[in-house]
Subunit: 664 residues, 2 copies
């Protein structure tokens, strides 16, 4: 098998213009060029190497991450990078670090919740990194339920200060990234108490460490919460624990855009609409959907290339064995994931435009679409991150035994990705929010209130409750209208069924509580419909040449029909399609996989990932997998000596039958 370049052959069979697809994937020629430039810049800089990451112990790993962050900061200045370029550079450095939270949570929190004055004071310090900040919300005993946080901020009118305090062990701040060892400041969420009354959770800017010598300030106990999933991965981040023992901060460090406390200790709400905060949530979740498509595409790129190189069974007349990518069981698992990566990329692109729309409306005091936009982003965050987490692990399994090696890159990708299912809203909790919105939408159908945005199809409920799917042949399943109607009918029927069952309960709340498992399924159906719809619209709207449109069409059909097959029970139990039509889906899927097969490697090449970013011996662009695996093995610290440390103490006595005599 050595000396044969399997991937060159794969690239020749592609039926479309890969360069044109790269632009489609990136979003624009500008985006492609920018990413390409920044990815190469990072890849060519030895400070940013990643291949030794899983071999470092915690302290070495962490120190190395500090080094990378400082080096990146220096390079950004030397090269006078724009904000856009600097963001991309951080992205391609591809290592969780305090800078993520500083730029992604601390700065936005001050921007979103600080007054103009506060912004003027704090933002220049943060922009220059004269202070480094994190976002201290969750506590040891409190995650999803923000209203349950226990940390208190009690106003003391005598000194014009807030007293920040951790009254219990469970009120210890727990998880904030960058908190443990790096951050000098934090936006701390605490119950605002003044004049004996608890006004609920508010954000405060609190200094944690001395700017002289970095030691924790009096009253502050701060540290790292310990090792996390995997080697390398998120262990480069100092997720932290933080306790306050009556720490005093000036009154003007309450973030005061939405509410203030006067010198006398009076709580005053400003007239800034609280809905503005939802805008931020839409923004953050939109970026998480974009991250999902990147992580999933990365995993599928590795699995696809390696599946084209790896051969097993099926050798005839001493010829080579069959590439595992040719096996239908491999295609059946891998191709829907490639299609999902594309689907998430396009729905993420659309979410970006949704955010722009929401922002413009907010500025015009139009809150009419906000609830729908909020439910939509919550649902898509949940759907895309769950599928991506499972998809990465599936890609690892698709790489067989070698996928279990750290050098495959997949274990670390999985370990570093899965927190996305939990942070910024637990995925199940988010789906229940979506379901609540759907139930409300259903209940308002009779009142004449027209559903908007991604729920607009529910205005068509009467038709969708009784329509019959017209599919008669496998090829009829290529019709986008048939697909979309089936997904709409399934979603609406599941939602209406749930609403009817909820209404039978003694109370709305009790019904919702008892039927929550069904409600989650209805929410998933709704979210899948959104992704399918946006993919169909993307294919219909874009007119890219070079055979690209045909490929997108195939991917879109695979995405939708694989979901249909996977959730066949939903479609059948709601009478949306017949068993016969369900069986035709499998036939059409087989045909679609055959169409995708010659393009598989080119479709993952279109992600335009460098070998550095992929970080996988199995996913190498040149396909030269085996020599690289072999070479990488010898770099393990265990191979520093032929005879392992511990031989004399713990192996020789066993082999030489001296165990009972030896003092072990």
């Amino acid at each position: 098998m050595e000396g044969v370049d399997y991937l060159a052959h794969e690239r020749k069979t592609a039926q479309f213009d890969v360069e044109a697809m790269k632009v489609v994937w990136a979003g624009s020629k500008h985006e492609l060029d920018l990413s390409d430039r920044m990815a190469r810049l990072v890849a060519s800089d030895p400070v940013f190497r990643k291949d030794n990451r899983t071999m470092l112990d915690r302290k070495e790993l962490f120190k190395n991450t500090l080094k990378k962050a400082a080096h990146a900061w220096k390079r950004m200045h030397e090269l006078r990078l724009t904000e856009e370029e600097a963001g991309k550079m951080r992205f391609f450095i591809d290592e969780p670090a305090y800078v993520d939270l500083h730029w992604g949570m601390f700065v936005p929190a001050i921007k979103g919740q600080g007054t103009e004055e506060q912004q003027k004071k704090w933002l220049p310090l943060a922009y220059k990194m004269q202070i480094i900040g994190c976002y201290a919300q969750t506590e040891l005993g409190h995650g999803s339920n923000v209203q349950g946080l226990e940390t208190t901020a009690t106003f003391d009118p005598n000194t014009d200060e807030f007293i920040i305090h951790s009254p219990t062990l469970t009120s210890s701040k727990w998880w904030p990234g960058g908190l443990g060892k790096v951050s000098t400041h934090a936006v701390v969420y605490a119950r605002l108490i003044t004049d004996g009354k608890d006004y609920g959770i508010h954000g405060f800017i609190v200094q944690l460490r001395s700017l002289d010598d970095h030691s924790p300030l009096p009253g502050i106990t701060v540290g790292d919460i310990g090792n996390k999933f995997g080697s390398g991965a998120y262990n480069s981040m100092d997720n932290g624990v933080l306790r306050f023992d009556h720490v005093r901060i000036p009154r003007d460090q309450l973030l005061m855009r939405l509410s203030q406390v006067t010198r006398e200790g009076k709580y005053v709400q400003s007239d800034v609409p609280r809905q503005l905060l939802y805008g931020t949530m839409v923004y953050v979740r939109q970026t998480i959907v974009a991250d999902a498509s990147r992580a999933l595409s990365r995993a599928t790129c590795i699995a696809t290339r390696y599946s084209a190189v790896r051969r097993q069974f099926g050798a005839q007349d001493d010829g080579p064995e069959t590439a595992v990518l040719d096996y239908k069981t491999q295609q059946n698992r891998l191709f829907p994931l490639i299609a999902s990566a594309y689907a998430f990329r396009f729905v993420g692109e659309w979410l970006k435009s949704l955010y722009t729309d929401v922002t413009q409306r907010l500025q015009a005091n139009d809150f009419s679409t906000l609830a729908e936009a909020h439910a939509c982003t919550a649902g898509l965050k949940s759907l895309t991150t769950s599928v991506t987490a499972d998809g990465i692990e599936e890609c690892r399994k698709l790489c067989g035994g070698h996928g279990y090696l750290s050098s495959s890159g997949l274990p670390e990708l999985f370990a570093v990705y899965i927190p996305a299912c939990t942070y910024e809203g637990d995925n199940v909790v988010l789906l229940l929010q979506v379901a609540r919105f759907l139930m409300k939408t259903v209940s308002q159908l009779t009142t004449g209130k027209k559903p908007v945005g991604t729920t607009a199809y529910m205005g068509n409920t009467e038709h969708l409750m009784q329509c019959r799917c017209a599919v008669k042949t496998a090829d009829d399943w290529l019709n986008p209208y048939a697909i979309q109607e089936a997904f709409e009918a399934r979603a609406v029927r599941m939602a209406v069924n749930c609403a009817q069952n909820v209404s039978k309960a003694p109370s709305q709340e009790e019904g919702f509580f008892n039927l929550s498992a069904d409600l989650v399924e209805a929410a998933v159906a709704h979210c899948q419909l959104i992704v399918v719809t946006k993919f169909i619209e993307k294919v219909q709207r874009d007119n890219v040449g070079g055979g690209v449109k045909d490929q997108l069409q195939v991917l879109c059909n695979i995405y939708a029909l694989n979901l249909l097959h996977k959730h066949l029970g939903d479609f059948l139990v709601t009478g949306t399609i017949t068993p016969k039509q369900g069986a035709l889906v499998s036939d059409q899927l087989r045909s679609l996989y055959s169409k995708l097969r010659p393009n598989a490697v080119a479709l993952v090449d279109a992600f335009n990932y460098t070998d550095h970013y992929l970080g996988s011996v199995l996913g190498r662009y040149d396909g030269n997998v085996y020599p690289a695996l072999y070479e990488q093995a010898w770099k393990d610290p265990l191979n520093e000596s032929d005879v392992p440390e511990g031989y004399a103490e713990y192996l020789r006595p066993v082999l030489k039958q001296q165990v009972r005599l030896a003092r072990l």
Copy 2:
């Protein structure tokens, strides 16, 4: 929340005798006492501590594993443990080590494939551990396809030796556990070549390292293959790489029970039936099913206890929040996994009796049930390991953010478990073997050949193809006959559909290849039926008092009905049940979850796991989770100093705006 013992309350609500259930779970009073004794022995010995494992670097971790193995060997002698006790002790030490392969693969290979003479020579050395062995089969380029191995063993009649050689890079032995740093010997699989002819793959005993100083022998290149998934986990094992440069071994180190090479170089097959090798496979896979139930029960034990402690949302009038175990979405994900752990335990127990039966038949030269037993164990290995791997990760998600901490024990449990989906037969490859057997069984139905064992139901195909499910109310789904018939009808219909579609293809092979995705689904349906059937039989057969039978009944129903709901598409598309009947399944499941709820903690207590074995701060028996999490955090090496290493070089220059001046 501090000071309240949530689990004591949970234990009071149990409606059955936990001690009686412990016996059921263990299999017998003897097994329970044995496990209990050995688990406590290990837990009370400080050498066997595990809580620091994820913090050690590779070399420290490996050395520590050698220490544990030597200490265990010493204790086994000191305490004069029986073979059974020693095996249990190794199990509770709970750390992958070379001893697993020595006892689990090297010794059995010599027993199964060696002649009496060879056994007499090698086994005493192995039993006393004067030599340590491993099982060197897979190669860098060859895993599932054993027939494709490239290593050669060429007979040289001049010297009466075999020359073992690695002709290519891809022929490097790769993955064998214990090979890299420890094993002095290996059973090596290689192509036997004599007189210019290749006789295929045979096993050879090859010495790898000097018994004097442990250095690799001339011609042998051996080392570790590098870091693997997770921290701790399988990195305690020296999975190895091995290359031979014309290494000579005496002729009598070919394992000669099945075939020999004479002094003249003539290849001679013995009259020992080759089917005997299948017996070993049945044995090994049976132990893997038993391991699956242990790993899954361990994960569910952690998730259940923590879900009873953890509270979130739903606080009323300043009271405590709702335990997450009370949420239907949590029950809906967790309770089927508890039920699966029990189901796998009982099907594993049954597999053990199947192995005894197969062994007895083999000794009587009766091979009539072997193919069925082989397909059955292959399928159950695949089903139980896949569900367990996914189930552990689901349990981690059910623990929310804290499940991501290494101290939860779940990341390492996942990392250490997932290879079971790949070793001893890739799970998808195994399902295809099952499918092949099912297709053969279907094709023989018309010939009058009666299907045996777990395929006996297929003798009833005519009825099962047209029977109608009689369920009219949700409670009708509690009828074991209704459940079993539905699973039988679904399995047989999927198999027959596949057979019909395969027969339409130009050739059997082509049909099988193209429809392999459907065939895998049919195989899964068959395997699920086996587990459901054995669970129903267990409940009906056992007459344990103390309310135990009722609990088993609830678990059995949850196991079956959750599968029915999850695979509703299968049942509907084959017309096995109606959409209305499918909807009733969800209603019954809700009611079953309510029945299980008060018993949840007691049902996982019945596994009788020590806190040492669980290895989880979240799964502690006393439920005192938060102080333990807090305490554990401070043990991380990063917390050795308040100001992290690297501050002066990489943080201070950033904060002090000296980046552009500093040389980083």
